[in-house]
């Protein structure tokens, strides 16, 4: 049985608390805690939680559940009985008046289902003094401490640097799940930021290089300037640019950095001791996967970059890949009832701003897959 991440973590921490980890498990737990800051791994915190008085009573709750569900069954039976009685009554009268009876529909208990909407412009910006500002369709002017003006309007942020300040200040922009944003930096470089993404960048450019730090997915159109190379740092490696357009995707869960070049030239260099470096030509994709060598291949770049033009293109993509992209954009949770269903493949072209059921409908008609939506969770079943 394949275990989900919370299960893997809780099993290891449970054993650790009992002093029963093997050496291999201890290493596994240490590696996981490095990636996920888990409070329960701290024995003192866990001990405090275990000592709390227990205010909840599962047995009583179960009895309440039985009462509530039983009442529903009885109610439904009563309603049905009433409906039949009414039909018979109406039928009798119809016979009498020679008129057809109005059929009585059994009341259906409908859960309120809200449509799942696509993402929209959303971001939080952190200024160099640590101040955080939420930007949702907000038009406003901000100013950095060195005088740089920042204009926020209609889902985009524009920096204009008129100062000659020597000190380099950094801002950070965070896009939540279900968000997107557009950024024009002080050097004229444009960045389209996708959902669940974070970018740290200089407010003004006066160093030898222009350096930014990315987690998540972004499309860059870098303003050419041979004197100041542009560097995009990801969690695995660094992309060096001389003036070009490319897409970078580095989501923690995917454990890889994917760079796709549309025009110009970039060089990707891995971080760490055993450095690897590759130059990329337009139309190529470069993958830096955990535990593997760099790998480049020619692709249809639109598959990777069209999101910024409001389109998703999937070409023979697995359900798991498609869902991991849609999850961020629609801010939904996905649970599979079966492991095999993840490996079904789909090809298609979809509008990014459609509501979610359009996607689901497309996939349901195209393959052996069924979706259920409950408690804001998309449950994926085999047909």
């Amino acid at each position: 049985m394949k275990k989900e991440l919370p299960d893997i973590l809780s099993d290891l921490i449970y054993k650790d608390f009992l002093g029963a980890l093997t050496e291999k498990e201890r290493q596994e737990l240490a590696a996981l805690i490095k990636r996920y800051p888990i409070a329960a791994a701290d024995r003192a915190v866990l001990r405090a939680r275990m000592e709390e008085e227990e205010p909840f009573n599962a047995r009583e709750a179960y009895l309440e559940f039985v009462r509530r569900t039983r009442r529903r069954i009885i109610l439904r039976r009563l309603r049905n009985a009433a409906a039949i009685a009414l039909l018979i009554g109406c039928g009798g009268m119809a016979w009498w008046f020679y008129q057809p009876a109005t059929p009585v529909k059994a009341p259906v208990e409908m859960a309120t289902v809200q449509p799942i909407l696509p993402g929209s412009s959303k971001a939080v910006i952190t200024l160099s003094n640590g101040e955080r500002i939420e930007l949702e369709n907000l038009n406003r002017q901000l100013q950095e401490s060195n005088g740089t003006r920042i204009e926020a309007a209609n889902g985009s942020l524009i920096y204009s640097d008129t100062t000659q300040s020597q000190e380099t200040l950094y801002n950070e922009i965070a896009i939540p799940r279900g968000g997107e944003f557009h950024l024009t930096m002080a050097d004229g470089t444009q960045v389209w930021l996708n959902a669940d993404t974070r970018l740290k960048y200089p407010v003004n450019f006066n160093g030898k290089t222009r350096e930014v730090f990315l987690q998540g997915e972004a499309y860059f159109e870098v303003a050419p300037n041979a004197e100041q190379p542009f560097l995009v740092n990801t969690t695995r490696g660094c992309i060096q640019v001389l003036g070009t357009a490319f897409n970078v995707r580095d989501y923690a869960e995917e454990k890889k950095v994917v760079t796709v070049l549309e025009s110009g030239k970039v060089r990707y260099t891995t971080a760490g001791k055993q450095q690897e470096s590759r130059e990329l030509r337009p139309g190529f994709l470069l993958e830096d996967v955990e535990g593997q060598h760099l790998h480049a291949r020619q692709v249809n770049t639109r598959l990777y970059t069209e999101w910024r033009n409001g389109k998703y293109i999937f070409e023979n993509a697995s359900v798991e890949e498609i869902m991991s992209t849609l999850q961020r954009w629609y801010n939904i949770d996905v649970i599979y009832t079966d492991e095999k269903v993840k490996q079904l493949h789909f090809t298609g072209d979809l509008e990014r701003y459609e509501t979610f059921d359009v996607f689901l409908h497309f996939m349901e008609t195209g393959g052996d897959i069924r979706f259920q939506i409950k408690d804001n969770i998309v449950i994926v079943n085999k047909k």
Partner: protein
């Protein structure tokens, strides 16, 4: 720990015994989880009860219990946030939660809480399966009480406390398998346990 496919099928078929088990296993941890978001015991219980009833009304057949568990925690998470959202759009707690569990800063808040509740659930299950006296010794020793203090609180001898601890240790060793024995023999003394210090 998991009872496999029959349990999942029985949940799907609405068998009362399976549903009772589902409550006994997950009701309390889910309430604690919801309380962290809602900061209110009664609201937490309502949300969890509603989540169970939602599942009962339209059951889902899961392939393994890990997926069912994940579903329950996610559902309680979403229903709690939805509840806050309905209550007050400008609610400060919601902004702290909904937004920053979404952004990368505290993206692991819900994972964190689920892991915490799951570890506690497993520990409680283990402890609750012990005989009453032994269970009390373990609960008290978790409060960092010394053998003397425990003996006094329970009105038994220190020797009895040590005996209960030893039995608890053997029991846990049996529950968790042979790894612990190996550690025990190699170290000549019990491993540094967070739960029991003999």
């Amino acid at each position: 720990m998991d009872t496999g496919k029959d349990f999942l099928k029985d949940i799907y078929d609405k068998k009362p015994e399976a549903w009772k088990q589902l409550y006994l296993r997950y009701y309390t941890p889910l309430c604690h989880y919801a309380r962290k978001i809602l900061n209110d015991n009664e609201e937490a219980e309502d949300i969890v009860q509603r989540t169970f009833i939602n599942l009962w009304e339209k059951p889902i057949l899961f392939d393994n219990e890990s997926l069912l568990r994940l579903y329950l925690y996610r559902a309680v998470n979403n229903n709690s946030l939805q509840f806050l959202r309905d209550k007050d759009r400008e609610d400060k707690r919601l902004r702290e939660w909904a937004f920053f569990t979404d952004t990368t800063e505290d993206a692991y808040a819900s994972l964190n809480n689920m892991v915490m509740e799951e570890v506690c659930r497993k520990l409680n299950k283990l402890i609750d399966a012990m005989p009453p006296k032994r269970r009390e010794v373990i609960r008290l020793s978790m409060k960092d009480m010394s053998n003397e203090e425990i003996a006094e609180a329970m009105g038994v001898t220190i020797h009895a406390v040590k005996k209960h601890k030893k039995e608890a240790y053997n029991y846990i060793r049996d529950e968790l398998g042979a790894d612990l024995i190996l550690l025990f023999i190699l170290a000549k003394t019990p491993p540094p346990a967070g739960l029991i210090q003999i």
